[in-house]
């Protein structure tokens, strides 16, 4: 009996390695609990689409204004690393889908294994991303310590400088060697989009580790696997965003 006099619904454990799930007392039925959480999570994912959507709109706007700047900018990125990372994320999306499926069918060890593989995928992705960022920082295409330093004007010579964009190898130039207009713009968009995406990868991996703790304790099984399902949806969203980022940033059309 809960405080307000309702009986809590208990979903029995399907086996000795699992624990029963008690439906939160403010829900009448397990179905209601599941659907309420699921609807809320889809709403959250819709806001995520809109968050990245604004950045994609910025990309298309400036790509249209300075197509050559974007073309040359994209050529500075290693498309092979981008393609490897795309495959890593697609594979990890598959392991996550299999992890949710294993939870749905009360296969504890398989759920743990697939979740662990997904975290490994997240780690590989971030390690590759780290080396990409490191190379770009060394080439002065975006210098992380100066990322938030604005445009600085030297009043004596009336020249400006952007401390986070120094382009040490002079790569942002057109065929004649003349500087491209707004050469920093592509990298501003690249680093903003991939850093926010990378943050989602890290948060996603953390959530999967958290869910694995519950799986290990036997809390998630055929009768109740909601958290595994929701974390899985979050992870697929991370993959979904990258599917668009890869061709737009690494293979600038």
């Amino acid at each position: 009996m809960s405080q307000d006099g309702h009986h809590s619904v208990v979903i029995p454990a399907p086996g000795p390695e699992f624990v029963p799930h008690t439906v939160a007392h403010h829900f009448d039925t397990p179905v209601q609990e599941f659907q309420a959480a699921k609807l809320g999570f889809w709403l959250f994912l819709a806001t995520e689409i809109l968050l990245f959507g604004g950045l994609f709109a910025a990309y298309f706007y400036y790509h249209d204004l300075y197509p050559e700047t974007f073309k040359v900018g994209g050529q500075q990125l290693d498309w092979k690393l981008g393609a490897i990372n795309t495959s890593v994320l697609l594979l990890s999306s598959w392991t996550m889908a299999m992890g949710v499926r294993s939870a749905q069918t009360s296969q504890k060890r398989k759920t743990l294994m697939f979740c662990a593989l997904t975290v490994v995928g997240a780690a590989i992705f971030m390690v590759i991303k780290f080396f990409e960022y490191k190379a770009k920082t060394e080439h002065g295409l975006f210098v992380f310590p100066h990322m938030f330093d604005g445009y600085q004007v030297d009043t004596a010579t009336m020249t400006g400088s952007l401390p986070w964009f120094t382009d040490v190898h002079n790569v942002m130039v057109d065929a004649t060697g003349a500087p491209l207009p707004h050469g920093h713009l592509f990298f501003a968009i690249y680093v903003t989009m991939t850093a926010i995406h990378g943050l989602h990868v890290i948060i996603g991996a953390g959530l999967i580790l958290w869910v694995m703790k519950g799986v290990a304790k036997g809390r998630f099984h055929a009768g109740y696997y909601l958290p595994v399902d929701l974390v899985g949806l979050y992870w697929h969203l991370v993959d979904l965003i990258w599917i668009f980022l890869f061709p737009l940033l690494y293979l600038v059309p």
């Binding site: 179905v31 709109a57 204004l65 795309t86 400088s161 055929a222 696997y225 061709p247």
Partner: protein, 136 residues
């Protein structure tokens, strides 16, 4: 508990959380293979010059990949109507943002020197190297 009546060949568990769809492992594997093949196609078509159509082709392939992830990996195909509407409507609102942003840009008279793509960059816009290297 709702009764289950499905004949799409997938397994279904009569679970306490309600109406659930458990997809087959084979289906997930097929989707993964198609996604990986489409990634190779994405790289392949980027090597061919179709002019402005390259962007359209790239986005078309990405949309097909995204649809596969949404429908199968995210289980939207078997989700409730309200969840489908909530998630898919975000793409509708996103298209409003894109349409109005790009319509504005396409119809705007961009003749300010700053906006002219082919304009020669003036000295002021070139970031002086010495000023930077002194700081490092």
């Amino acid at each position: 508990m709702r009764a289950h009546a499905h004949n799409d060949g997938h397994g279904h568990g009569a679970l306490q959380m309600g109406h659930h769809h458990v997809s087959s492992s084979a289906m997930f594997l097929n989707v993964l293979v198609v996604l990986l093949i489409l990634t190779v196609v994405t790289v392949g078509v980027s090597r061919i010059d179709f002019g402005p159509a390259n962007m359209l082709i790239a986005m078309l392939i990405a949309s097909v990949k995204a649809s596969l992830v949404i429908l199968f990996f995210m289980h939207v195909k078997w989700d409730t109507a309200i969840n489908k509407i909530v998630f898919l409507s975000s793409f509708l609102f996103l298209s409003l943002l894109f349409v109005f942003t790009l319509a504005d840009q396409a119809t705007r008279r961009i003749d300010h020197p700053m906006h002219v793509t082919k304009a020669k960059v003036s000295k002021e816009w070139v970031y002086p190297k010495p000023a930077i290297s002194e700081k490092h």
